[in-house]
C-alpha cells in the first residue's frame, strides 16, 4: 500500500492508538507479567476478537447479536477437534476398546470416528474451517433475517435462541462433542507440546498478531465507504436504500465478518487454554461478550480490546476476593454502561483525555491534529425498530 493510502487508513490519532496498544501487548505485558498471568491476558484477548466483531455489527451496523458465543464456539471446537484427533493416536489410546478415536467417544460406546470429524485430521482444513464454517453459518442466518428486514430486538432474540440450541445440542450429543465437559486433554500441535511455557508464549504472540490483523481489517472497513454507509444506515436506512444500495447485503457482510473474528478468537482460546467447552457458547457468555464491547465503547475498535481487558481483569480480581459481589458488579456494569456512559471507555477518553493528548501531539509536530480521525466521536444514534 502506498504511503498516502496508509495515512488515510491510519490517521495520526488512530496510528498513535494502534502503537500504544501494540506497545502494551507486545512489550509491556510480556515483560511485566509471569507466564501464568500472560496466558490469562491471552485468554482475555480471545474475547476481544468477539468484542471487535460486535463493534462492527452492533456499533456500526446497529445489529445486536446475542449469539456471538456460537461463532466463538464453532472456531474453538474446530481447533479442538484437530488437536483432539492428534492426541487420540492409536498409541495414546491403546487402552480404549476402540483405539484411535477420542476418549469421550469410546466412553459413549462409539466405535468409529463420525464422518464430520474425519476432515479435522488435516491442519489446513481445520484452519480454513475455523473461518469459513462460522462465516457460512452467519451468512445463512443473515440472509434469512436481513433479506426479510428482520432486525433489532427480533434479531437479538433469534440469535440468542441459536446460542441456546447449539449449547443444548453440544451437551446432549456427548458422544460426538464431548458433552458438557467439552473437548479436553489436548496435547500437541503437529507433535509440538502445547502445554509448555514456550508454547504458551508463542500462542500469546500469535493471538496478539491475529488480533492486530483483525484490527487492521476492522479499521479498513471503518475507513472505507462501507463504514460510512453503515453509519448512514443506522441513521436513515431508507435513504441509503433509496440511494441505490441493497441494505441487507451490508448487514450480512458485517455480521459474517464479526462472526469470522469471533471464530478466530475461539480458535486462539483453544490453543492457549487447552480445551473448549459449551460454557463459552451459550446465552450467558454471549451476552457477556456484548458488555466487553459496550464498556470499551461500541463505536471504538481499540476500545473493544481495552473494554475486554478491563472487564475480565475486574472479573478475575473480584472473583478471587469477593465472588458473591461479582454478579452485582457485572449487573451494575450493564446498567451503567447503557444509562450513564453509552460510549464506554472511548467516550470517556474523548471527553476528558483526548484534547490533552492532541495538545501534546500538536506541540511536538507543530500542526493541528486531524479533527475527523478520533475514534468513536459519533454519538450513539437512537435505534429504530
Amino acid at each position: 500500500m502506498s504511503y498516502d493510502g496508509l495515512r488515510s487508513l491510519l490517521p495520526k490519532n488512530d496510528l498513535l492508538g494502534f502503537a500504544v496498544l501494540a506497545l502494551l501487548l507486545v512489550v509491556v505485558l510480556p515483560l511485566s507479567l509471569d507466564i501464568f498471568r500472560l496466558n490469562l491476558v491471552g485468554k482475555y484477548l480471545t474475547y476481544a476478537f468477539v468484542a471487535l466483531g460486535l463493534v462492527l455489527c452492533w456499533g456500526y451496523g446497529g445489529i445486536l447479536s446475542l449469539g456471538q458465543g456460537v461463532f466463538f464456539g464453532l472456531g474453538g471446537y474446530a481447533m479442538a477437534m484437530f488437536l483432539k484427533l492428534e492426541a487420540s493416536s492409536p498409541e495414546n489410546t491403546a487402552i480404549q476398546s476402540t483405539p484411535g478415536i477420542p476418549d469421550f467417544m469410546d466412553w459413549n460406546q462409539i466405535t468409529e470416528l463420525p464422518w464430520f470429524w474425519e476432515p479435522f485430521n488435516s491442519l489446513i482444513f481445520t484452519v480454513l474451517a475455523i473461518v469459513i464454517i462460522p462465516s457460512i453459518f452467519a451468512y445463512i442466518i443473515g440472509v434469512a433475517m436481513f433479506k426479510r428486514r428482520v432486525g433489532g430486538v427480533y434479531f437479538a432474540i433469534i440469535t440468542q435462541a441459536v446460542a441456546a440450541i447449539l449449547t443444548i445440542l453440544i451437551i446432549g450429543q456427548q458422544g460426538y462433542t464431548g458433552g458438557v465437559n467439552g473437548i479436553t486433554d489436548l496435547r500437541t500441535l503437529k507433535g509440538w507440546d502445547i502445554r509448555t511455557d514456550e508454547a504458551k508464549y508463542a500462542f500469546y504472540f500469535l493471538c496478539v498478531f491475529m488480533l492486530f490483523v483483525c484490527l487492521f481489517i476492522a479499521q479498513y472497513v471503518r475507513k472505507s465507504k462501507l463504514g460510512r454507509l453503515l453509519v448512514a444506515m443506522r441513521e436513515m436506512e431508507d435513504r441509503v436504500r433509496f440511494s441505490g444500495y441493497d441494505v441487507s447485503n451490508f448487514k450480512i457482510f458485517v455480521f459474517c465478518l464479526g462472526s469470522a473474528f469471533a471464530a478466530i478468537g475461539g480458535a486462539m482460546f483453544t490453543l492457549q487454554v487447552g480445551f473448549m467447552s459449551p460454557t463459552f457458547v451459550g446465552i450467558v457468555p454471549s451476552i457477556e461478550m456484548v458488555i466487553f464491547c459496550a464498556v470499551g465503547g461500541r463505536l471504538s475498535i481499540l476500545g473493544a480490546v481495552y473494554g475486554t481487558l478491563v472487564v475480565n481483569w475486574a472479573k478475575t480480581t473480584f472473583s478471587e476476593s469477593f465472588p458473591e459481589l461479582w454478579l452485582f458488579a457485572m449487573g451494575a456494569l450493564f446498567i451503567a454502561v447503557v444509562m450513564a456512559f453509552p460510549n464506554g471507555l472511548a467516550g470517556l477518553y474523548n471527553k476528558y483525555a483526548a484534547h490533552h493528548v492532541e495538545k501534546l501531539l500538536g506541540k511536538k509536530k507543530g500542526q493541528s491534529p486531524d479533527a475527523k480521525a478520533t475514534v468513536g466521536t459519533q454519538g450513539v444514534a437512537h435505534e429504530r425498530q
Binding site: K225, L226, L229, V240
Partner: protein, 249 residues
C-alpha cells in the same frame, strides 16, 4: 396489459393499493412525458405520498402497473428502481446527521454500490469534482466539512436534493420540497428546481398553489386515491370539482 406509449418516461396504469380493505390509491392512471414537471396536489390523505411510495417500491401495489421507460417497476426492489434511474426525496429531510455534508453527497454518488464495491471505493478526482459541482448548486459549498445535523432545516432539504442530483436520475420525485422553508429559502429553492429540472422529468408534491403555478408544466389533482382533475395550473384552478374539494370542506 394495455399498450403503453414508449414516449412516456413514466406510465402508471390502473394502480391500486389497499391497506386492510381501504383503497389509498384506487385505479390510478397517469403519464409523465420526458422533461416534464408534473405537480401532484390534493387535500391531506388524498394518496399523494402513497403514489410516490408505490413508484419507488417502498409500498407494494395491490394491482396495476408502473412502467418507467417501458420497464415494469412493480416487481423490482427499491435499490433496483433507484439504479434504473428513479430518485426520490422524502417529505422530512432524510440525511445522515452523523456524517459531513461531503460524505452525505459522496455516499449518494452512483459508484461502488455493492459490498465489495464499497470496500474498494476510492475518493478520486471524478468524485471530488462531482461533489463540489453539486454542492455549488445546492448552496452548500462552504459547509462541505460540517456535520449534516448542524445544518438548518432548509439546508437539509437542499442537501437531500443534492444527494439525488448526484445520482443524476432520469425521474426525480420530490415530496413537498419547500415545506417549512423561509421566504428567501423558498425563492432559492424555486430557482434551484428550475435549474435541476432541465433534462429530466420531475414529479413534485406541493401544497402552495403559487409555487405550483410557478414551476408546473402539468398538475394532477388527487382526491381519495383517484384523479379529480388534470391539466395546466390555470385549468385546474378553475375546475369547479377542484374548488369544491378544496373549499367545500
Amino acid at each position: 396489459m394495455s399498450a403503453s406509449n414508449t414516449d412516456f418516461v413514466l406510465a402508471v396504469e390502473g394502480l391500486t393499493v389497499s391497506f386492510d380493505g381501504f383503497k389509498a390509491v384506487n385505479d390510478l392512471s397517469f403519464y409523465v412525458d420526458k422533461d416534464e414537471i408534473r405537480v401532484i396536489v390534493g387535500p391531506n390523505g388524498a394518496g399523494k405520498t402513497t403514489v410516490l411510495d408505490l413508484i419507488c417500491g417502498r409500498t407494494k401495489s395491490t394491482e396495476g402497473s408502473i412502467k418507467f421507460r417501458n420497464k415494469e417497476l412493480t416487481k423490482m426492489k427499491e435499490h433496483q428502481i433507484v439504479r434504473a434511474g428513479v430518485g426520490r426525496k422524502f417529505q422530512t429531510p432524510s440525511i445522515y446527521g452523523d456524517l459531513t455534508v461531503f460524505e452525505n453527497l459522496e455516499i449518494s454518488f452512483p459508484r461502488g454500490r455493492s459490498v465489495f464495491g464499497a470496500l474498494a471505493f476510492k475518493r478520486d478526482a471524478e468524485v471530488l469534482n462531482r461533489v463540489s459541482e453539486v454542492a455549488d448548486m445546492i448552496f452548500l459549498s462552504d459547509l462541505l466539512e460540517s456535520r449534516a445535523d448542524l445544518l438548518s432545516h432548509g439546508q437539509k432539504q437542499w442537501l437531500e436534493i443534492g444527494m439525488l442530483l448526484i445520482q443524476d436520475p432520469e425521474l426525480l420525485m420530490l415530496d413537498e420540497p419547500v415545506a417549512g422553508m423561509s421566504v428567501s429559502e423558498r425563492r432559492q429553492t424555486a430557482e434551484l428546481l428550475r435549474r435541476i429540472t432541465k433534462d429530466r422529468s420531475v414529479i413534485v408534491i406541493e401544497h402552495d398553489m403559487q409555487f405550483v403555478a410557478e414551476i408546473a408544466d402539468k398538475v394532477t389533482v388527487l382526491h381519495q386515491g383517484k384523479i379529480l382533475a388534470e391539466g395546466s395550473a390555470e385549468e385546474v384552478k378553475a375546475d369547479p370539482k377542484v374548488i369544491e374539494v378544496y373549499l367545500g370542506h
